[in-house]
């Protein structure tokens, strides 16, 4: 039963775990490994891969394909959360982007390229709106983005005039359903965006600025960091990522559905980011961690499908993951744990003794 490729997969994964054992990403990776192992042992056909016409098919591929939306959104969300903010509006932005895309192609007969460009630009604009409220006026991020979260779906419906608009344009359908290099095209899209985000943050000093602003905004400003610009950029980028996700979401079902496109995407993305090791309070961020977090969430959902659990009940295990992640990241929980297992108390950070004075 165990084919060579599956053994290879586990060897590689084990090696990955070994080399990351001291990094933040270890925990989400381990969780992913355990979930996959569970499926390996108990879900028949989960690891079955098929090669048809040079394209790979199988449950694992489905995870990559359907996890695309959350992965894309999570990249932008990582930066926003790292600045100490949060963007609740990404789900609504996905809906707007889809509505704009469908309206442009199906009603105004624009070319797919132009339609995509407009949709992404509108999303960037919405991100800029959030950025303006947060960085410009100084409104608390949860509140500021709540506005667009509430109004966004109304706007999407306004654009699509309350209809579900279908389209058949092959280019647009390709985004979520096409294959490149034997893998779903969304994989390429995610990798490109990841590389772009990485270059944007670590190739420049923007990453340092984001972390500084998220950790101590006032001190960063006194050190000369343009905190407003940094925050604004993060929200614009989150809008951009949500726009791309909106294209994928619309392409997936070949239509724009203002009510359901990107529903809960913001929550999944926040969850992915937090699983990945970035604290909700801001500061250090982990892009790869967020990707692993998104994969974990999607694997969980897919596991449920594969085991014929009703989609409606799917939130229950998700809730358990949220809880587990919260507890894992809680210093207090770790302290309770180390009290239970006193031998391994080295995991407990020494309290800031000096700072108490």
């Amino acid at each position: 039963m165990l084919s060579f490729s599956i053994i290879l997969f586990w060897v590689v994964f084990a090696a990955l775990l070994f080399f990351t054992r001291k990094l933040r990403i270890f925990w989400p990776l381990l969780a992913l490994a355990l979930l996959l192992l569970f499926n390996q042992l108990l879900t028949p056909g989960f690891f079955k891969l098929e090669l048809r016409e040079g394209h790979l098919y199988g449950t694992l591929i489905d995870i990559l394909k359907h996890g695309g939306i959350v992965m894309l959104v999570a990249l932008g969300m990582t930066l926003v959360i790292a600045t100490g903010g949060v963007d609740l509006s990404v789900g609504a932005v996905i809906a707007v982007a889809g509505a704009v895309l469908a309206q442009a192609v199906a009603v105004h007969n624009l070319s797919p390229g132009v339609a995509m460009l407009i949709a992404v630009l509108v999303s960037v604009g919405l991100g800029a709106w959030n950025g303006l409220l947060v960085a410009g006026i100084g409104i608390q991020p949860i509140v500021a983005t709540l506005i667009l979260m509430v109004a966004g779906r109304g706007i999407a419906q306004l654009i699509s005039e309350g209809q579900v608009i279908n389209f058949t344009d092959p280019t647009l359908v390709f985004i979520a359903n096409g294959y490149l290099f034997g893998l779903p095209f969304t994989c390429t899209l995610v990798l490109v965006l990841l590389a772009l985000t990485y270059a944007l943050t670590r190739g420049t000093a923007l990453g340092l600025f984001i972390e500084a602003v998220g950790d101590n905004d006032v001190a960063s400003r006194y050190a000369g960091v343009n905190s407003r610009f940094v925050k604004f950029t993060a929200y614009v980028f989150a809008g951009f990522c949500a726009g791309l996700a909106g294209l994928v979401a619309a392409s997936e079902i070949k239509s724009a559905d203002a009510n359901h496109a990107g529903l809960y995407a913001e929550l999944d993305a926040i969850l992915a980011v937090v699983i990945g090791g970035t604290a909700l309070t801001g500061g250090r961020f982990y892009l790869l961690g967020s990707i692993v977090g998104a994969l974990l969430i999607q694997t969980l959902t897919t596991t449920m499908y594969a085991r014929n659990v009703s989609a409606d009940i799917a939130p229950v295990p998700k809730a358990i993951v949220v809880l587990a992640v919260c507890l894992l990241q809680s210093e207090k929980a770790r302290r309770y744990l180390s009290k239970l297992f006193p031998r391994k108390n080295m995991a407990t950070p020494a309290p800031k003794f000096e700072a108490a004075s």
Partner: protein, 320 residues
């Protein structure tokens, strides 16, 4: 006393907007002036209002509760299922209130004992309750019981021929009165404000922060469950898929009602006004007839924006 305390300005603005919307309705539509519109405003928004009162406590303490909508849906289908399986309605309702309170207390305990962010904990709570609602039953279920068909309807107060204050509205008003009392006249209520204004100070001043936090979320759970019960009075059914995103409306109502999202400042009465404003917008759009429902969302969004900017300018002036 010659100048208005800044913390009353948002509430004053809320009252103004509420009156303006009502006057606008009366000017545009002659039927708007009727008593029935007002009665319905309370009755139709009762469960939202009760949930929003619960959310007010949470937000006053500086937290947030995302589980509201899912809890209401769960309680709805829970009551419908238990009643149809032969449990007396009053028992089912008491059971539901107990479940809701315990669930809230559990959320509060996680927040208190593990220092977890309320946002994540209640997000988990939302997923859990939504999923469990479907575990209880996959589709909606009507409640057919004489208690619902007759007793509840009989509990309304007749104002004029064919106009009665429905029981749901009575529940809402009772909840607002009780919650206001708790906020102003109990130590628990004052502790909520203290925690929301400055948690470390509250702790050092000897406020039982931990217990109060658990209490706040338990109370919010109780109010969500009560809102769930009231929703079954209103709908005469339970549906696991209902009330998606209701927590957003509740939060919006609280903010429009003048409570600072950072905690420490706000009034339960303001939240009631916030709920009525949301209801008035809905009613106006229904009366108009040509406008689509999505305008409701956009209007709420615009109002949120206005009130948040208002809060920002006031708190910006009030504190350095």
């Amino acid at each position: 006393m010659n100048r208005l305390n800044p913390k009353y300005i948002p509430s004053a603005a809320t009252a103004l907007v509420m009156i303006a919307l009502y006057v606008l309705g009366c000017v545009l539509f002659p039927n708007f002036i009727s008593l029935r519109v007002i009665v319905n405003l309370f009755g139709d928004n009762a469960f939202l209002g009760i949930a929003a009162v619960g959310a007010t406590f949470v937000i006053l303490s500086g937290g947030i509760d995302l589980s509201v909508g899912a809890v209401i849906a769960f309680i709805g289908i829970f009551i419908a299922t238990t009643i149809s399986s032969g449990v007396p309605p009053l028992v089912a309702i008491l059971l539901a209130l107990l479940v809701g309170t315990l669930f809230g207390a559990a959320q509060g305990s996680l927040i208190r004992f593990f220092d977890l962010p309320p946002f994540l904990v209640t997000l988990g709570g939302m997923f859990l309750m939504r999923g469990l609602a479907f575990v209880v039953r996959q589709e909606s279920l009507a409640i057919k019981h004489s208690f619902y068909q007759q007793t509840i309807r009989g509990l309304s107060i007749q104002l004029a021929p064919r106009i009665a204050i429905p029981f749901t509205a009575i529940c809402l008003i009772a909840v607002v009165l009780v919650a206001t009392y708790v906020c102003v006249y109990t130590r628990f209520g004052r502790n909520v404000y203290a925690i929301g204004s400055s948690e470390t100070s509250a702790f050092l001043m000897g406020v039982p922060v931990g217990g109060t936090k658990i209490g706040i979320y338990a109370l919010a759970g109780f109010f969500s469950a009560l809102a769930g019960c009231v929703s079954t009075f209103y709908m005469q059914s339970g549906n696991p898929a209902s009330f998606v995103g209701l927590e957003l409306d509740a939060i919006a109502a609280v903010v429009i009602g003048g409570t600072l999202l950072t905690g420490g400042v706000g009034f339960v009465a303001g939240t009631l006004m916030g709920v009525l404003i949301l209801g008035l917008i809905q009613t106006l759009i229904t009366f108009q007839g040509n406008l689509n429902t999505w305008w409701t969302k956009i209007a709420i969004g615009v109002l949120l924006l206005l009130f948040i900017v208002l809060q920002k300018t006031i708190s910006g002036k009030g504190r350095t």
